[in-house]
C-alpha cells in the first residue's frame, strides 16, 4: 500500500551546519517526533480496530465479548458455504460497473484532453458524483420513479419504470456514475502524456481511426486504463447505498449490506467480522495492484 509518488529523497533534507552532539540528536529525533501524532491516531483507530476485527472473526457469534470466547473457523466456513453468492455478486457488480466506466470514460477522457477548452467547467461539474453515492442514487431513483420526471418518456417507449428501477443495469449505472470521475482522472492523466503528433503521424501514414486506437493510443495509455479500472473496482467493492436505493433483492446481496445486517441488526459479530475481513482482503489486493501499476494515482 506504499504510496509511490512520495518517494524518499535524502537530498530534500536541509544540510545541517556544524552542530553539537546534543543538537544533532535533537535533529534526528525531530522527524519521528513530528510524525508521531499521526501515527498514534492511525494505530489507535485504524490498525487496532482491524486486528480486533480479525480476532473477532474467529469467534462464535458474539461470544468474544463474554467471559470465555469460543474460537472457531465456522464464520469463514459459513461465508464460503452460504454467502459465496454474495461475494461473487459483489465482485460481479464491481467488475461490470468498472467496465462501464472504462467503455464510456475512455472516450470522455480522450475528448476532454484533446478537444475541450472548458476543462475547468467539466472539472467543476464532475465533483457532483463525488459528493457521494447517496445523493446520486437518491436523485436517479427519483428520476425513473413510476410517477417521476422520466415517466412520460418511459410510457412512450413502453418500458415499465419498476422493472427499470430495481434492476441490474440501474444498479450498475448508479455505481458507475459514482466512480466515473476516477476513471476519467486516471485515463486522462495517461492520455495527457501521449504526444498528439504520434496520432497525426499514424493518420498521415494511412491508419484508420481504430488502428490509431489499437496501435498507438491503447498501448501508450494501458497503465492509466489499468489503474483507473482497479481504482473504480476498489471503490465499487465497498458499494452500500446504491443497491439499497436502485437495486432489487438480488442486487442487495453484496458484502457491505450483508455485514451491516448481520452485525448491527442480528448481533452476529463473528460472521459480520469474517465478511469484513473478506471484503478488506479483496479491497487491499486491488489497491495494492492499482498502486503498483499507476505509479502515483495519488499526488502524481
Amino acid at each position: 500500500m506504499a504510496n509511490p509518488s512520495i518517494t524518499l529523497n535524502a537530498g530534500e533534507m536541509i544540510a545541517a551546519p556544524e552542530q553539537s552532539a546534543r543538537r544533532r540528536w535533537r535533529t534526528a529525533l525531530m522527524g519521528p517526533g513530528l510524525v508521531m501524532p499521526a501515527l498514534v491516531v492511525t494505530i489507535l483507530f485504524s490498525i487496532v480496530p482491524i486486528i480486533y476485527l480479525a480476532v473477532v472473526s474467529f469467534t462464535e457469534e458474539s461470544t468474544f465479548f463474554f467471559n470465555r470466547p469460543i474460537y472457531t473457523l465456522q464464520n469463514y466456513q459459513q461465508v464460503w458455504n452460504r454467502y459465496l453468492p454474495h461475494v461473487t455478486n459483489t465482485i460481479r457488480l464491481a467488475v461490470l460497473s468498472s467496465a462501464f466506466d472504462l467503455v464510456f470514460g475512455y472516450p470522455f477522457a480522450y475528448i476532454l484532453i484533446r478537444r475541450v477548452r472548458y476543462r475547468e467547467l467539466v472539472r467543476t461539474l464532475m465533483t457532483f458524483p463525488l459528493f457521494g453515492p447517496l445523493y446520486l442514487a437518491y436523485g436517479i431513483s427519483y428520476i425513473v420513479l413510476p410517477n417521476g420526471p422520466l415517466a412520460p418518456v418511459l410510457d412512450f417507449l413502453h418500458i415499465r419504470a419498476t422493472s427499470l428501477l430495481f434492476s441490474d443495469p440501474m444498479t450498475i449505472f448508479g455505481m458507475a456514475m459514482f466512480t466515473f470521475p476516477f476513471m476519467v482522472m486516471n485515463v486522462g492523466t495517461a492520455l495527457a502524456n501521449v504526444d498528439p503528433t504520434l496520432e497525426e503521424a499514424a493518420r498521415t501514414l494511412g491508419a484508420r481511426p481504430w488502428q490509431v486506437f489499437t496501435r498507438i493510443l491503447f498501448p501508450l495509455s494501458a497503465s492509466g486504463i489499468l489503474a483507473g479500472f482497479l481504482m473504480c473496482f476498489g471503490w465499487n467493492l465497498g458499494v452500500f447505498v446504491v443497491p439499497l436505493l436502485l437495486g432489487g433483492i438480488p442486487q442487495q446481496r453484496v458484502l457491505s449490506l450483508t455485514l451491516y445486517q448481520k452485525g448491527l441488526t442480528q448481533f452476529d459479530y463473528g460472521l459480520a467480522s469474517a465478511m469484513g475481513i473478506v471484503l478488506m482482503v479483496l479491497a487491499f489486493g486491488v489497491t495494492w495492484l492499482s498502486l503498483k501499476f499507476s505509479r502515483g494515482a495519488l499526488g502524481a
Binding site: 509518488s5 478537444r115 457521494g132 455485514l259 475481513i277
Partner: protein
C-alpha cells in the same frame, strides 16, 4: 456537375471532421448533464408543494428540525479539519524534510484507512468502540473515525506543495537569524497556503457527506446531517427529504466552487477531487 463534385470533394476533407467534433462535444455535454441531473431533479422535487404548485415551503419545514443535524455536522467537520491540520502538517513536513527510519512503512500505514471500504471501517470501529475503548455513540469516536479516514487526503496535497517549495526560503530565513519555528510560521506556512487549502477542501467534502461509517458508529444523540439524509431516503421521496439532500449538495458545491475560484485545481490533481 463539376461544381457539385468540387463541393463534395472539399466536403470530403472538412465535413466529417467538423461533424465528429460536434459529436465529441455533444458526448461531453451528455455526461455533464448526467452529472448534474440527479441534483437538479432533487431540487425540482424539493420545490413541489402538496397542492401541485411550487414553493419553498419544504425548505422552511426542514430548517426547523434539520438545523440541529446540520449544525452538528458542521461542528464535526470543523473539528476534523482542525485535528487533521494539527497532525497532518507536522507529519507532511517530517516526511518531506526529515530522515525517518522506516518511512515507507509509516507512509503505507498512514494511508491504510484510505483504502479500507467504508463498511469494514464501520464494523471494525463499531465493535472496537463498544467493547475495547468503551466510547460507543460518542463525538470523540466519530471525530476520530473521520480524522483517521481523511487525514491521508490532507497529507498528500501538503506533501506535493512542500516538494514544490525550495528549501532556499527556509535557509535564507535561518541565515538571517530566524529559528526553526519562526521560519516555519513566517515563511513556509504562508507559501503552503494552497496545498493546505486543498487538504481542507477534501476533508470538508468527505466528512460533511460521510454517512456509511457514521451509520455503524453513531447513536441517537450523534446523528449527523448526512446520516439523517440517509435515514430519510429510506422512507421515500417526500419534498422535505429532497430539500435536505439538495441543501447538503448545495453547501458542498459552493465550498468547491469557492475553492476553485480562489486557488484553481492544481493542488487537487491526483487526489479524490480530480
Amino acid at each position: 456537375m463539376s461544381a457539385a463534385m468540387m463541393a463534395t470533394r472539399r466536403g470530403w476533407d472538412l465535413r466529417p471532421a467538423r461533424f465528429t467534433i460536434v459529436l465529441q462535444h455533444a458526448y461531453i455535454w451528455v455526461w455533464l448533464l448526467l452529472f448534474v441531473l440527479p441534483f437538479v431533479t432533487t431540487i425540482v422535487r424539493s420545490l413541489e408543494s402538496a397542492d401541485g404548485g411550487h414553493s419553498l415551503v419544504s425548505y422552511r419545514a426542514v430548517y426547523g428540525s434539520f438545523k440541529g443535524y446540520l449544525i452538528l455536522s458542521l461542528e464535526m467537520t470543523i473539528a476534523t479539519i482542525v485535528i487533521n491540520l494539527l497532525i497532518g502538517i507536522p507529519a507532511a513536513y517530517a516526511i518531506v524534510r526529515h530522515a525517518i527510519p522506516g518511512k515507507r512503512i509509516i507512509l503505507s500505514s498512514l494511508n491504510l484507512a484510505l483504502y479500507t471500504p467504508g463498511a469494514v471501517m464501520g464494523i471494525s470501529l463499531a465493535i472496537t468502540y463498544a467493547f475495547l475503548f468503551h466510547i460507543p455513540h460518542s463525538y470523540t469516536g466519530l471525530i476520530a473515525a473521520y480524522v483517521v479516514g481523511t487525514y491521508p487526503l490532507m497529507l498528500v496535497p501538503i506533501i506535493v506543495a512542500l516538494r514544490d517549495l525550495s528549501t532556499t526560503y527556509e535557509e535564507a530565513a535561518r541565515t538571517l537569524g530566524a529559528n526553526r519555528l519562526q521560519s516555519f510560521f513566517r515563511i513556509e506556512l504562508p507559501l503552503l497556503g494552497p496545498g493546505i487549502s486543498a487538504g481542507i477542501l477534501l476533508t470538508f467534502v468527505i466528512v460533511f457527506n460521510e454517512f456509511l461509517v457514521t451509520l455503524f458508529i453513531a447513536g441517537p444523540g450523534t446523528t449527523t446531517a448526512a446520516l439523517r439524509v440517509y435515514g430519510l431516503t429510506r422512507t421515500g421521496f417526500l419534498p422535505t427529504t429532497a430539500a435536505v439532500a439538495a441543501t447538503m449538495q448545495l453547501v458542498s458545491f459552493l465550498v468547491v466552487l469557492f475553492f476553485f475560484k480562489a486557488f484553481g485545481s492544481r493542488y487537487l490533481k491526483g487526489t479524490y477531487l480530480i
